[in-house]
Subunit: 533 residues, 2 copies
Amino acid sequence: MTVHDTTSTLTGDQLIGAQDVPGTGEEFHAVDPRTGERLEPAYRFGGAADVARAAALAWDAFGTYRNTDQETRAAFLEGVADRIDALGAELIDRVTAETGIPEARVTGELARTTNQLRLFARVVRDGGWLGARVDPAIPDRTPLPRPDLRQRRIPLGPVAVFAASNFPLAFSVAGGDTASALAAGAPVVVKAHPAHPGTSELVGRAIRAAVAEHGLPEGTFSLLQGGRELGVALVTDPRIRAVGFTGSRQGGLALVAAAAARPVPIPVYAEMSSVNPVFLLPGALQEKAKDLGPAYVASLTTGAGQLCTSPGLVFAVEGDGLDSFVESASAALAETAAAPMLNAGIRQAYDDGIRRLAGTDAVTEVARGGDDPAIACGGRAALFVTDGDAFLADRSLQDEVFGAASIVVRVRDHAQLLRIAEALEGQLTATVHATPEDHGQAAELLPLLELIAGRVVFNGWPTGVEVGHAVVHGGPFPATSAPATTSVGTRAIERFLRPVGYQDAPAALLPAELRDGNPLGIWRRVDGELGRD
Amino acid sequence: MTVHDTTSTLTGDQLIGAQDVPGTGEEFHAVDPRTGERLEPAYRFGGAADVARAAALAWDAFGTYRNTDQETRAAFLEGVADRIDALGAELIDRVTAETGIPEARVTGELARTTNQLRLFARVVRDGGWLGARVDPAIPDRTPLPRPDLRQRRIPLGPVAVFAASNFPLAFSVAGGDTASALAAGAPVVVKAHPAHPGTSELVGRAIRAAVAEHGLPEGTFSLLQGGRELGVALVTDPRIRAVGFTGSRQGGLALVAAAAARPVPIPVYAEMSSVNPVFLLPGALQEKAKDLGPAYVASLTTGAGQLCTSPGLVFAVEGDGLDSFVESASAALAETAAAPMLNAGIRQAYDDGIRRLAGTDAVTEVARGGDDPAIACGGRAALFVTDGDAFLADRSLQDEVFGAASIVVRVRDHAQLLRIAEALEGQLTATVHATPEDHGQAAELLPLLELIAGRVVFNGWPTGVEVGHAVVHGGPFPATSAPATTSVGTRAIERFLRPVGYQDAPAALLPAELRDGNPLGIWRRVDGELGRD
């Protein structure tokens, strides 16, 4: 493995507009979770003055940035993507060092991240997000004339983005929240995740360079280093108008509460916890129980189980098929090697979660993955079994154990399976394995799963989130704090927009997207009818 | 005036699904605010058991109702409209008796209400609200095949609607919240406003009859009588999944807090307070100050000023034009007759607000409307003047006085006008009067007004909200609790929907709107491209 030395590129500073600003808090370092090695340079958390400065710059930038034309904004997003791609091996090595994520996965995540930025460039050019509507005046209507009314969407204002630890690129500094906010016309202030400050700085500098190159105001992007305290300061700054967050339930709810307590509350789009239930229907079990076991373990152990879509619960009616599934899954899981978890805190929480499950009377551990003391933050996969009655009786079995732990629930019968589906908390995903013979049962299950999940997967596994137009990466509480939204895919842009109506506006004052003759050539609803003329 | 005797039709009961359920609280009566006369029959507030029963029925109905096809749901909405229209004079008389709103306005509001239901029927048939998206599979994509992903929107669940006092039809039992929720596929539980229980019962019975006629489950609609306590019980019932509210800031925020404190929080779409600033630019003042005065007073005194879009603040740079405007407005206002306010509580709050303004040093009363002791709850219009410095120094001058009170603010110069626009709270509307010579100044003002208002009106007045596709009746906090939404117009349906994704779903299990070949013929995004094929 060639490790690029990023210590010469990295300064350990925050990026506040065009300025490099050292933090003022205690020194901290990224740690390689594979080796426990401390990585240079040192970083420090920023303080209240840094938050205020970044927010003020973002507010200053807002007036200009939100009014950039579609092409300027799209080209900027593509410029960000190009500059991140150009970091190449230097970035990939720093990510693997800071997170322990294998190079192949980092390479894939990098492609996903820059493709995502380019996808949002296309979204910006399409202009559908503007939600343009025109209801022309009807001056001779009785009893009252109808005024001319036009509507478009404008960005809410500067957005605070809280980076996640588990996707150091795709859900971090230039991840989906940042890409969709910038696409919406919102300046972004990112709070970096303290577990990968060097990755954050590299990506942040790429964004900053694109900001300058495209002639945008410096406050279009800032990057702060910080923890809970800086996060709350950021969310409560009056110039911040929306928040994107991916992380723990506790962290997300703290920001939701802080945002709700502001004199002017703002929306927090927090993606939090999900255990991603999987339902194995009888036909599927009969046909392929032995294949489903290893496939399940492969999904469960992807990223050491540290994916928000990791399958933490499997439900099936008891019988030979289920026995065979548990057997094949146990065998596959026992053969998995220990994998580095993201950091010591996550590893500790995972071990605590495993101990809690192992200590629950109605839960039986049926398999553990291999151990490897050479890995500093190594996580061992774990498989548990319980039954439907016990599951329904103990709500805590729905709590997420972040990591490669999962419970197979032996359900009494199909009626109990349906009761369980009704009793589940909100989820990012729900998965059904079904053969055509199962479609009757699946048709009963699906309406229940729609109500608890953002995405329903058939005959696959929940991990692996496609970034496109039709994907939903969201879901009812506690999966997210805003069930009507998605944090992945093109609809993510909608979180940062709101409609404004213009009544009898003089043509000279109308934005281009609402002018007569549709000069931008975008889709608009005219008198309710979609068209592009 | 022919008063139809509705006491024979009305029972004083709540309508819980198909059942008439008497309340259990203390007896109350509607009161004619013109005469102080007590109207029969007696009503009683419902209790916790009524809330639970209505919510349980709504939840039971949800599975069926949300899956009704577009035509069934559209025909039902039209059926509701027809049955309300058929009430005719009986309904109009009851509304005027319970609210003091003149018959001509009630007739207009009735037409608006039933037109709104029919508009939502057309929205349902259009199907755009389904937000259908299809990203077809790409099995041979490398490095990984792309799954088939499809997305549609489904309703959140049963919706609680809190009726407003000031629009006893258009924002009440069958108002915009109810119409858009029913259109979205959500059963509705309405908490009637205690000031017009008879109107509520009449309209509620019309909806119930349409529910039965169209073969829908009884829980599709219920009507409860109650106050704050019942309201909180309704919002915290686990089967209620969203809330529509129009009313006071205090009332709205209480529901927002109750909803946020639930184990599973839900969205509250509360339309609250707005003072609807009006900006008179120099050219407009020079050209038509004498006409603007009476037009302003006409808007201000519509509905005795009890409209959420009533113009409570006017800003203009001082000078002859403004003097002339204030003079003409004062003269017009002094000639207005007292008008019945909706009820004694609102009248009392209005008088308190007037006293507060009159007692503020920097504020001068320049005109009062006529008095009429014969009207039990008569409200007198009031016009005040202050200056820009005083306005910027005293945040309380932005507080809504619900009724026909307004302040004209003499602003020092254009720079101060812009500072004021920046300092304003969130509003439903902002209005600009400008001639072509003013367009330079208007172009500076407009970007500020977009950020604080849901609708920007040019050369008109904010009262009079057109129900269409392009209207926005919403706006930043405190105008509403959900600035990205509108409570009037076709986009109101979006409040009650959320997207769900389907990955690799077998054709047999897909909803019609997502099937290959687009059997419903609706607009869909396929691979991001809008089309109807």
